[in-house]
């Protein structure tokens, strides 16, 4: 039987958000220092240590080509993190920000946009991303992942503005211009939630970027990407678990920190 869950304590939520942002900060530092921290440059192979299990010489083991998995995971994290940041920026601009602005456009135009993007939001974002990458090129995968996540972000931002709210009606009745209302929305609502919106977009785009890479629609070899590394490890991971587990763990940690930083409420999706 369900009992009513209490709202999460603000302190606990603030701590979790803090942990999330600290984690993302640590990942960012690791990404910036990846070339320094990695023991070997990206793609460097050593045929004498193929599929070597984790050891002091290779803490994360080596893959089928003898690449050091620790170095490769760091390079892959840098690539995935960088792409996800770019995609998240696109999702914020084309989704969250555009949704907030569109809600204050003339009603027919605003609701036409809401309807069109509402239809796009019913198609899984991964499918949209694959479709858009197919139409453009794999090089644009990060931008496209952001665009694929944008419809849902647009719909959320549009609905959050509450076009028909009492304050909007009073404002319109008293002749307050739409631009003033829009400025109010952006400064009070969007501004306050920017960190949460950004972290939420980062989590969503990271999943799309890495899954697209795993399916062969993202990063192209020799570029390293966590999704691509897991796809490469798929051939050997049943016998050599370390070829997929470490990149997968890095990916899950990145998404988890982004979700924590977003401060998602009970049952909220990124």
């Amino acid at each position: 039987m369900t009992s009513a869950p209490e709202a999460p304590a603000p302190l606990l939520r603030a701590i979790l958000r803090g942990v999330g942002w600290c984690g993302l900060g640590l990942i960012m530092v690791t990404v910036f220092l990846s070339d320094f921290l990695a023991r070997a440059p990206a793609g460097w192979t050593d045929a004498t240590v193929m599929l070597s299990p984790p050891s002091p010489a290779h803490p994360f083991g080596t893959d089928l080509l003898g690449r050091d998995m620790l170095s490769e995971t760091l390079h892959g994290l840098a690539q995935t993190g960088g792409h996800a940041l770019l995609g998240a920026l696109v999702a914020i601009l084309c989704g969250g920000l555009f949704g907030a602005v569109a809600a204050r456009l003339p009603r027919p135009l605003a609701f036409s946009l809401r309807g069109t993007l509402g239809v796009l939001a019913t198609v899984p974002a991964l499918l949209l991303a694959i479709l858009l990458i197919g139409l453009t090129a794999r090089f644009y995968a990060p931008l496209v992942a952001g665009l694929a996540a944008a419809p849902l972000a647009f719909v959320r931002a549009f609905d959050r503005v509450e076009v028909d709210s009492t304050h909007s009606e009073y404002a319109r009745a008293t002749g307050i211009p739409t631009m003033t209302l829009l400025r109010r929305d952006l400064s009070y609502e969007f501004h306050e939630m920017l960190g949460s919106v950004a972290a939420r977009a980062l989590a969503a785009v990271t999943i799309i970027v890495s899954t697209a890479s795993f399916l062969g629609f993202g990063a192209e070899p020799p570029a390293r990407d966590l999704g691509l590394m897991i796809a490469a490890g798929k051939a050997t991971y049943l016998a050599a678990w370390w070829t997929a587990v470490f990149p997968a763990a890095a990916l899950v940690i990145l998404i988890l920190f982004a979700r924590l930083a977003a401060g998602l409420g009970e049952g909220e999706r990124p």
């Binding site: 369900t2 709202a7 309807g115 999943i207 899954t211 798929k234 049943l238 990916l251 988890l256 049952g267």
Partner: protein, 290 residues
Amino acid sequence: MRSFLARQAVRLVVGVFGAALIAAAISAIGAPHAHGLAPFFFAAVGRLVHFARGDLGQSAISGLPVLQVLAGSVPQTLLMVLEGACLALVAGLPLGLLATVGPTRRATAPLVQIVTATPVFCAGLALAYGAVHLLHWPVSVNMPVGASVSPDQALQIAALPVVAVGLAGAAAVQLALRRAASEASGGAFRSGLKRLGLSAFEIERRFVLPQVLAGLVASAGEIMMALLSAAVVTEWVFHQSGVADLFVKSVALADWNMAAIVVFIFACLTFVAEFAGRIASRMLASEGRP
């Protein structure tokens, strides 16, 4: 209730029409001589007219009618999604209800965060690894094409993708339940009902539970999207040849007509799930209204 039904029906029709427009636009990309805005527009309108007449065109890869290709792959994916949905409800609903009980909710919150932060392809690969090393099951992940297996092994091989889709669905059910329970917790009716002499258990059973379940079915569209997204990845991971796998191959080989129809099917499934979910939610919520 009648006006609510009419509103939802209009939403469904408008949504399906919107999905058809988008599908026609995608399909027109592959049309010959559709370069430039005006030719593209006319090609898209032409495709829309053909769709309305039931002519879905031909696959650019195989040259077969799209309907014929879909008839071979849609049932497999729909079956997997359906089985996954059943599993999601069978596993996700009791676990979700248990996990929303006061102290358990706090204890399970980090686990839910970690589970929902795991991409489906990672979960699918982990599942396959566990099946091989713990259960000693054969898996299709790295199996050579045409490898012979016994009927028992075939069943084990077929079970894993369903479990992967079901787990993704269960995670979506879990999120929807938590959200609904969280919203129901704000209801001001509890104190009033307590003053009327109802026990806490009775309030939960007669008033809160229907609202939580109503919240769950209202998220049917979201759960359907989670199942479809999981199906796309799972078919790829486990080498299943369903409609999701067909979509990935169609995009890779620029068969835009086929890709457009698959997008249309997926959007329609989500719209229908949303439509049914909203109506069921309304009925459940009115039952539990104090």
